[in-house]
């Protein structure tokens, strides 16, 4: 028995001799952490799903700061007689409209009755409620109101449906955000209100929707999960353990361990102030699942040892000695997997990861302290002698695998490749309404709203006019109208809210309600006057601030969509943004924003963010395996059975289900730590058999099967059942997560039982051959290695969703590069003009020589001429396509050439807005690319690509590059900083074609949006193909320059 196993034995001895103390202190520890349970809070703001610096969230919050907040509550009324325009419904509507002002935090109520209807009486503009006194309404008046409402673009399809069978009240809320109770209190009030009205007006049905109700649904889904999933889990556990352990006392001991693990994990969440959201609400279930696996491993060993006739104490020591390290390792790797969720872009996932990691750690601690202590004290009867009946079958199975190793290997690899190809076909869909299943009221009511009244997915466009009061400008208004009309013609768009409709109505009113004047005012003065008149007549709370900003220089157009899938919403958004760029002045170029947009990007952002997290977890775990197996070879072999299950599971998912939400981003991280357990157990037994027992490959595989085979099946089944229970969640993301994780775990078990032994047989037998016929062995081994690398690379290549668009982005970048190839060398005099925010100017002059280097980055020399104190200072750079650049700085006063680090590439170049990386050679390999769109203006046809710097020292996360297709020149680059917000824009001005056929700009203008500073590089005296060569670009040549 080696030293590490002795830790377990030593600890066991301590525990056995002090069982009461151990129980006391371990429970004390668990309870002291668990005391935090009382501090657990819920977070019900959908914004919490987005990091503080999520760009879509920032954009939407910016919009909300300009206009009113959109956190609305929708109260939907459906009269049973399918007609809204009846006297009794109008009475009810008027009453509930007035009562709705009393809903907590409400700032505005819009309904049919308080709609600010305008009409003209002679020269006066009369603004009044559409329904003033419902009790005195006659049938003709009701018909008149119906006619007005259905003709009013602001109401139709928003507040009233064309059939007049459903109407709604739209209540704007402004949450102060001080207490988590705000949202539930609104929901409670609204429910009580509607219940009261349902009783008072039995002919009406009420439904509740809107973002406020969605936030509340997050709350309820989380509560629901905690209150339904956990009991199911306990019931299942009891069943499993009763079957497996066949000992009531053992079940009781295990229940203690898992109960206190969960209490400690959740308590720690409370202590750290981690809020509960639907994703983190499944943490107790996950902890339960993982804790039970730990306990079962140890208990089964104890019971087995006792069945052989050993005393209980000896059995405990033996079981602890054998299981301490594996249980520690599996807990450790599981914790790593869950902690990697911190890379996600969605804070609730961080919470899930952190709570689970704490719970798993506690489960490990309790399994090796509380569990043996309880067993010591509890009366255990000696179990019947357990016969390892599985052995003959296990041996047969192992033999079959070894005999058919090549078949197994190729079947697995073929299946892997086949399924990997399917992965990109998974449709990502994050319609947030569908996050909730139909047991949640919000989902049902919202589905009803979308079917009968209006849409819930919206896009906001903030259209600026570029001048104060500019919204009255007829040219601007007609552009907004053109845009709104175009929007209305788009598929899926069911409602467009635009201020131009109000202007048109006012114009009509001011012309004695004549239909032919239902058009925009013809002059600016007229428009401004209408607006003033109208606004003065609006009652408190019904002003136009939700459509027009305070400066009256911009307005917001809201497009409401029917029940569209996120990909359609995104493509509509792209199309709309493009329309604005093509057809509207620059001030109106804007990006769509809304919660729907935020959720539409959530998967993409999470997949990107988690790719790193998963990779890191993977590397760490492989490292742990290499160390614990004390073998580099077997550590590397473990890579394959650890990766393949995720690929297989995703592939199967793609074929069977086909769509997924953003939960998909975290499945790999969640399962990696669990999947690896099978590999650890199998490989450690195998390695031990080979090393210590000196068995042959085949015998070692047989040994591994018969020793850990049944235990692995048991734990995998337990774990997959545990994760399957998440499918009972009311929150769809948890369903997906549970199902995919369970699938991955089962697939992993199969892979570890078939693929892993086959792989071991092939690799280790090849090695044996090598020692016999060395030459052949080497060749085979090489072939083997090449083949497996090729297959893994293939699987990865296919799995990593190489989209055609990405290739097109690369293609554009390559075109730029190819077009510029063959300039040989160039010199130019450059004037750098720096402007600060106050407009103060300073200049620098320099000379730049560039030498084209085939197959690598270019070499360049920059010599400063002014300011005079740095005259002669020069900068030599050898840029490299791959790896960091070589750079030297020459200081003429000391005649010193200093080699400098090129890591500081994000720093400013000579105090300018250009960073070192902006002026260095732009090699294709320095970025990865994605194609965004084709842009065609009147004169220029072009492409927009995004590129992402490969170097981690870059100051940018992405750059959007506008490329002219005719001459493949870069027109503009937008630089996004580490927080993914727009940092700088670089415009290339005045391209000219030189005699060698190359295009060069006269000026490069860099504007920093965050500081207001700008820098221009003005290029003069371009000369190409000069008599300069490699020998003019070295350290010595630096010293000759002044």
């Amino acid at each position: 028995m080696n030293k590490r196993e002795n830790y377990g034995a030593r600890l066991a001895k301590i525990v056995i001799s002090n069982p009461l103390k151990t129980i006391f202190f371990s429970i004390l520890l668990a309870l002291s952490l668990g005391s935090g349970v009382t501090k657990i809070t819920m977070n019900s703001d959908y914004r919490y799903f987005f990091g503080e610096d999520n760009p879509q969230r920032l954009a939407f919050e910016k919009l909300q700061n300009v206009y009113a907040k959109d956190d609305g509550l929708l109260i939907v009324l459906s009269p049973k007689d399918k007609n809204v325009f009846t006297k009794k419904t109008m009475i009810a509507l008027k009453e509930i409209t007035e009562r709705s002002w009393k809903i907590p935090f409400s700032t505005r109520v819009d309904s049919l009755t308080n709609f600010q209807h305008t009409k003209a009486i002679e020269d006066d503009l009369i603004v009044a409620d559409l329904v003033k006194d419902p009790k005195s309404l006659t049938q003709t008046e009701l018909q008149e109101i119906q006619k007005i409402a259905l003709a009013e673009p602001l109401l139709a399809n928003r507040i009233i449906n064309p059939d007049s069978s459903v109407t709604a009240l739209n209540i704007k809320l402004s949450f102060p955000g001080n207490s988590p109770e705000e949202v539930p209190s609104v929901a409670k009030y609204a429910r009580e209100l509607t219940a009261e009205f349902e009783e008072k007006y039995p002919h009406l049905e009420f439904r509740l929707s809107g973002l406020a109700m969605m936030n509340n649904a997050f709350n309820e889904a989380a509560m629901n999960d905690m209150s339904t999933l956990t009991p199911i889990m306990y019931a299942v556990i009891l069943l499993i353990m009763a079957v497996l352990l066949k000992s009531g006392m053992a079940v009781l001991a295990t229940l203690n361990v898992i109960f206190f693990s969960v209490v400690a994990g959740m308590g720690a969440a409370g202590l750290f102030g981690i809020p509960i959201t639907p994703p983190s609400s499944i943490a107790p279930t996950v902890i339960l699942t993982l804790a039970i696996a730990d306990s079962i491993h140890i208990l089964k060993s104890i019971l087995y040892s006792m069945s052989l006739g050993h005393s209980k104490k000896d059995s405990i020591i033996e079981a602890m000695a054998a299981n301490f390290t594996p249980v520690f390792l599996t807990s450790f790797t599981t914790a790593i997997g869950f902690l990697s969720l911190n890379f996600s872009d969605t804070p609730p996932f961080h919470d899930l990861g952190n709570i689970t990691a704490m719970g798993v750690t506690m489960a490990f601690v309790l399994s090796v302290t509380l569990l043996p202590a309880l067993v010591t004290l509890m009366p255990f009867r000696q179990p019947k002698k357990i016969v390892k009946s599985g052995s003959p079958f296990a041996v047969k199975f192992a033999d079959w695998i070894v005999d058919h190793k090549k078949g197994v290997l190729f079947t697995t690899l073929f299946t892997t490749v086949f399924l990997a190809v399917q992965i990109p076909k998974i449709q990502l869909n994050d319609q947030f309404v569908n996050y909730f299943d139909k047991s949640i009221e919000f989902r049902n009511h919202t589905d009803y709203v979308m079917e009968n009244l209006t849409g819930i997915y919206q896009l906001n466009y903030d259209l600026g006019s570029g001048e104060s009061g500019g919204i009255s400008n007829p040219a601007y208004l007609s552009k907004v109208e053109e845009f709104s009309n175009w929007l209305r013609a788009q598929p899926h768009v069911i409602h467009v809210s635009t201020v131009t409709d109000i202007f048109k109505r006012l114009n009509k009113n001011m012309h004695a309600d004549r239909e032919e004047f239902y058009s925009l005012p013809t002059s600016r003065e007229l428009a401004a006057q209408y607006l003033l008149l109208y606004e003065m007549s609006l009652p408190y709370g019904l002003d136009l601030n939700n459509q027009i900003n305070v400066d009256k220089d911009s307005t917001r157009v809201i497009a409401t969509f029917s029940n569209v899938e996120t990909k359609d919403l995104l493509s509509s958004n792209t199309k709309i943004e493009q329309w604005l760029r093509d057809n509207a002045p620059a001030t109106m170029h804007t990006l769509g924003s809304s919660p729907a947009i935020m959720f539409s990007y959530i998967t993409e952002r999470n997949v990107k963010a988690m790719a790193w997290g998963t990779l890191l977890a993977f590397l760490l775990i492989t490292g742990v395996l290499i160390v614990s197996l004390r073998s580099f070879k077997y550590g590397l072999i473990s890579l394959l059975p650890n990766i393949i299950p995720a690929i297989l599971a995703f592939g199967i998912w793609s074929l069977v289900v086909g769509t997924a939400g953003f939960a998909i981003a975290i499945v790999s991280s969640v399962t990696i730590g669990i999947v690896v357990d099978d590999t650890v157990h199998f490989l450690s037994k195998y390695v031990r058999a080979r090393r210590e027992k000196g068995l042959s490959t085949k015998e070692a595989i047989e040994y591994s099967f018969s020793t850990v085979g049944s235990a692995l099946i048991v734990t995998s089944v337990v774990l997959s059942i545990g994760f399957s229970i998440l499918m009972f969640s009311a929150f769809k993301m948890n369903v997906t997560l549970g199902a995919l994780s369970a699938l991955t775990i089962i697939v992993a078990l199969i892979a570890d039982f078939t693929f892993l032994p086959a792989l071991l047989a092939v690799v280790d037998e090849k090695e044996k051959e090598k020692s016999n016929i060395k030459n052949k062995g080497d060749k085979m081994k090489l072939k083997n290695a090449v083949a497996s690398i090729a297959i893994v690379a293939l699987a990865f290549g296919l799995g990593s969703t190489v989209k055609a668009e990405e290739n097109k982005g690369l293609w554009v970048a390559t075109q730029i590069d190819i077009t510029n190839e063959g300039f040989v060398n160039q010199t130019a005099n450059v004037k750098m003009v720096l402007l600060n925010k106050q407009g103060q100017k300073s200049t620098r002059q320099m000379k730049i020589k560039t030498l084209e280097v085939k197959e690598d980055g270019d070499k360049s020399l920059t010599i400063f001429k002014t300011p005079r104190d740095v005259k002669g200072t020069s900068f030599l750079s050898f840029s490299h396509a791959v790896g960091s650049d070589d750079q030297w700085l020459y200081l003429p006063a000391l005649k010193r050439v200093k080699r400098i680090s090129s890591n500081n590439k994000s720093g400013p170049f000579m105090g300018s807005e250009f960073a070192y990386e902006d002026i260095s050679s732009q090699e294709v390999e320095k970025y990865s690319y994605e194609y965004i769109s084709t842009e065609s203006k009147v004169s220029v046809k072009g492409h927009i690509i995004e590129r992402y710097p490969v170097d981690k020292n870059s100051g940018y996360t992405k750059q959007i590059v506008w490329v002219n297709e005719e001459n493949w020149t870069i027109q503009k680059i937008e630089f996004y900083d580490r927080k993914e917000s727009l940092l700088k824009t670089l415009n290339y001005i005045g391209y000219k074609k030189y005699q060698n056929g190359k295009w060069r700009p006269d000026e490069m203008h860099m504007k920093n949006h965050q500081t207001g500073k700008s820098t221009s590089l003005v290029w003069n005296d371009y000369k190409f193909n000069q008599d300069i060569s490699d020998r003019d670009f070295n350290k010595n040549s630096l010293k000759r320059l002044r």
Binding site: R868, K895, S906, D1032, R1042
Partner: protein, 394 residues
């Protein structure tokens, strides 16, 4: 030598002069040093104003492959007659022909990588009266030939004339009780000042690793002294051989540097000396452009207190703060710690900032703090100073 220069001017006219360029520039600087304490040896003035002019004429042609440069230097000092001096910093022709580069005339050559002390930099004599930090050098007549290959640059130097170190006069600071009389200089070699020194150097880089190996044979740049009267001492210049290595490795934001020499000189035993350390740069902090570098260098000299330099087992700890702003604001600060008793021996602070296209100010402080009586710095105990200067560049 003059012929050579004339020749080069001639060749300048005959060659097809593409991309030729003449520039005349330079700097004029007014500076004032303030010593808070009176000197120990009668040099009691606390204020030392000084004026420096250093114009520069440069003609380059053949795509900057051939260059002639003339840089005279004049300092006028109000206090110290010895500090008022003229020097020809540069009067040279440099020509690069294929893989060979030659440099003929009076010039300056820098070797090395470290910041606190330049150990291997041996070609030029220090202009000690300008500044005791050894950064200012006197022009050195030389002929050198570099051969650039794929295996690095090989350079050979012939140095036909020796430049004596400058020393403060009786009115100046930075001297001991005995004034150095440079007129009574002694040479160990019969050729005296006209001894021709030789040096060889190979330098190359391998990715992020820079390496230089040098050999020097000739007159020792560091003098020994001998008392010649009760008030004066005279410098003695010996012959020496020196082997040196300087290398630097860049690892992410780390620069690891080392300079090592072994010197075998007359009048002393062969010794080893090194300056080894690192510089770590926190670059572009919080995206503001601010760079903060942290340096630590160990200065070791096997001769111990018998060293000719002030430092023999000291640690230099310093920082370099560059704002990277439009005005190129920079602050350098450092201190030397004696490794034996952990006492702080010397502090330096330098700050500089551009005013506009042509003007720039600098402030330096050099504080010598309770040096041990055995230390070379003990003589300068009272010579801490603050210096402010303003420079005009054109």
């Amino acid at each position: 030598m003059k012929k050579l220069i004339a020749l080069s001017f001639l060749s300048l006219m005959t060659s097809q002069t593409i991309a030729q360029e003449f520039t005349f520039s330079g700097v004029a600087k007014g500076e004032v040093r303030y010593f808070p304490e009176e000197g120990k040896y009668g040099n009691t003035e606390k204020l030392q104003p000084s004026f420096v002019i250093e114009p520069q004429a440069m003609y380059s042609w053949d795509n900057d492959r051939q260059v002639t440069t003339v840089i005279p230097y004049l300092r006028v000092d109000e206090q110290d007659n010895e500090r008022t001096h003229f020097d020809l910093r540069e009067m040279s022709y440099v020509g690069a022909f294929n893989n060979i580069e030659t440099r003929i005339g009076v010039s300056k050559v820098f070797w090395g990588v470290t910041e606190s002390y330049h150990l291997v930099d041996v070609i030029n004599q220090s202009d000690f009266v300008d500044n005791i930090d050894g950064e200012d050098k006197l022009g050195q007549p030389m002929v050198n030939l570099s051969y650039l290959t794929d295996y690095g640059t090989f350079t050979g130097f012939a140095l036909p004339y020796f430049r004596e170190r400058t020393f403060s006069g009786s009115e100046g600071r930075f001297r001991g009780p005995l004034v150095v009389n440079t007129d009574k200089v002694q040479y160990m070699h019969v050729d005296g000042q006209n001894h021709t020194d030789y040096a060889l150097r190979w330098s190359h880089y391998f990715g992020d690793f820079e390496l230089g190996l040098s050999y020097f044979n000739g007159t020792n740049r560091d003098p020994f002294f001998k008392a010649i009267s009760s008030t004066e001492i005279a410098p003695i210049y010996t012959q020496m051989e020196q082997y040196s290595i300087d290398s630097q490795y860049i690892y992410e934001n780390w620069l690891l540097k080392t300079e090592m020499i072994v010197r075998d000189s007359q009048l002393e035993q062969r010794f080893f000396s090194t300056v080894t350390g690192f510089e770590y740069t926190f670059s572009n902090i919080k995206q503001t452009g601010l760079d903060v570098g942290v340096l630590a260098e160990w200065l070791y000299d096997e001769r111990g207190t018998k060293t000719q330099t002030p430092f023999y087992d000291h640690t230099f700890i310093g920082t370099r703060i560059a704002l990277n702003d439009v005005k190129s604001t920079e602050i350098l600060a450092g201190m030397f710690v004696n490794n034996h008793d952990m006492s702080l021996t010397s502090y330096r602070i330098e700050a500089e900032r551009r005013i506009n296209e042509n003007w720039k100010w600098e402030v330096n402080a050099n504080i010598i703090h309770e040096p041990a009586p055995v230390s070379g710095l003990y003589l300068y105990e009272k010579d801490s100073y603050i210096e402010a200067s303003i420079s005009f560049y054109w």
